[in-house]
């Protein structure tokens, strides 16, 4: 079957879906191509943090971009809830990164200070807090004796990543987007007269605008559109406990309690290619650390573990760009698609809609990676 679409988004993960949602909200009705349940999809296996701490070390523009997304999140979550009925469980709770012992406290203090100095207007507003302040923030949590303090970011928060994806899919469809699972783009052909033809197993789609947001599916397709960005895989393992009564825990990068009561414990940073297996050794190490933070976690039962593959660029910052060779073709990929969902649905989708990535998006062009 051959058809035409106002725009085609390749990839129905949290990045492609947020962009498609934003486009559809503005009246451009995209067709979203996606694979099936056997695909590599980080959007369905991540930790669910809306996180600023540590983003953009060496690239302040990324810090500000992330901060703006965090600022947009509360209204974005409300909009998704009102429009789709899906509760994303987003909370701007503030987030912490625990320091076990003097050395960790020292290193973290250095990082926070350095990032503050890099970014003139300090997008994170993060600061170090001591054990006393931690206890004030979370009076019901009993911390282990090694917890000396933490870095604390007031703009951080967390969300259910699966509900977020569900809401984006429901929302984009309701705004008029078409979603096609089990329909991978096999080939993307720029046409001499402008525009593109996309070949799928089910037919050819003609479109003036294409957004390549396929996560690990970017590498095999990008050269056809004149892009040259290497998306690297980094494995992250996560363990999840049974559901337990809420303990009033702020989200942290190693442990958070979800709205439904489970504790997520994570996560590793491993270079193992496209291998998504879990290892007892990594699981044990993550659990040991979580128990040093909150000793009572030793009594929680782990019910499942899994691993996902992050989509990384060389400097771990996002890449957004329009093809210079084939205008109308855009590429989007990032390390924190959950955090950035709110800004992808607004600022990025706006720019793609207008066909011009302006000064706020310019720093994310992949040419910066070539200079390194």
């Amino acid at each position: 079957m051959n058809e035409t679409a106002e725009a085609v988004v390749i990839g129905g993960g949290v990045v492609g879906s947020a962009i498609a949602y934003g486009l559809a909200r503005r009246g451009v009705k995209p067709l979203v191509l996606d694979e099936g349940d056997d695909a590599i999809r980080s959007s369905r296996v991540n930790f669910g943090l809306v996180w600023l701490l540590g983003k953009g070390d060496g690239m302040p523009a990324y810090g500000f971009w992330t901060r703006r997304s965090a600022d947009l999140w509360p209204e974005f979550a409300r909009e998704l809830k009102d429009f789709t009925g899906v509760e994303t469980h987003y909370v701007k709770s503030g987030g912490v990164s625990y320091c076990l012992g003097e050395a960790e406290y020292g290193t973290r203090t250095e990082i926070i200070t350095r990032m503050r100095e890099q970014a003139e207007n300090d997008p994170y507003e993060a600061r170090m807090i001591d054990r006393g302040e931690l206890i004030d923030l979370m009076p019901r949590v009993k911390f282990g004796p090694e917890v000396l303090g933490a870095s604390y970011g007031p703009h951080d928060g967390h969300v259910s990543p699966l509900n977020l994806l569900h809401a984006l899919h429901a929302g984009m469809k309701r705004h008029g987007a078409a979603y096609r699972p089990l329909t991978p783009a096999l080939e993307v052909r720029p046409l001499a007269a402008g525009g593109f033809e996309i070949r799928t197993p089910k037919g050819i789609i003609a479109t003036p605008k294409v957004v390549l947001a396929a996560g690990h599916g970017i590498n095999p397709l990008e050269r056809q559109l004149g892009f040259d960005v290497e998306v690297l895989a980094e494995r992250g393992q996560i363990l999840v406990t049974e559901r337990m009564a809420p303990i009033g825990l702020l989200p942290a990068n190693g442990v958070r309690q979800t709205a439904e009561g489970t504790f997520l414990i994570g996560t590793t940073n491993e270079e193992v290619g496209y291998d998504t297996s879990t290892t007892p050794r990594a699981g044990a190490a993550m659990v040991r650390r979580a128990i040093r933070v909150i000793p009572a976690l030793a009594h929680a039962r782990i019910v499942r573990t899994w691993a996902g593959l992050r989509t990384l660029t060389k400097d771990e910052c996002p890449v957004y760009e329009e093809s210079s060779q084939y205008p109308g073709a855009f590429l989007a990929t990032c390390h924190s698609g959950v955090t950035l969902a709110a800004i992808h649905a607004s600022d990025l989708a706006d720019a793609i809609c207008e066909g011009r990535l302006g000064a706020n998006i310019e720093p994310f062009h992949s040419r910066r990676l070539k200079d390194q």
């Binding site: 337990m244 009564a245 303990i247 439904e260 009561g261 009572a296 009594h299 019910v303």
Partner: protein, 90 residues
């Protein structure tokens, strides 16, 4: 036909079940119409897949909470109890 049986205690009540059966099967034998309540919705739940994938069968077995009852083989004297609501971390 003779078959080896064991006695387990489902919510305190003795029940005799086949030796190779699961704790979830024993709970159903005992006539429990539900085996836990959801900590999220308070709904009543019971074993569903009986093969370890759905996690609907979480029960307290020999004092250990949130065990997948369909994956635990019965043993003589085993205590199998309904799990109600969310547990406290303590």
């Amino acid at each position: 036909m003779t078959r080896e049986t064991v006695t387990v205690y489902v919510d305190g009540k003795p029940v005799s079940v086949g030796a190779g059966e699961s704790a979830a099967a024993a709970a159903l034998h005992a006539g429990l119409s539900y085996t836990r309540t959801s900590p999220v919705t308070d709904e009543k739940r019971a074993p569903y897949c009986m093969m370890g994938v759905c996690f609907e069968c979480l029960m307290v077995i020999d004092g250990v909470p949130s065990r997948q009852a369909c994956m635990v083989k019965v043993a003589a004297g085993m205590r199998i109890e309904r799990q109600i609501g969310a547990r406290e971390l303590g």
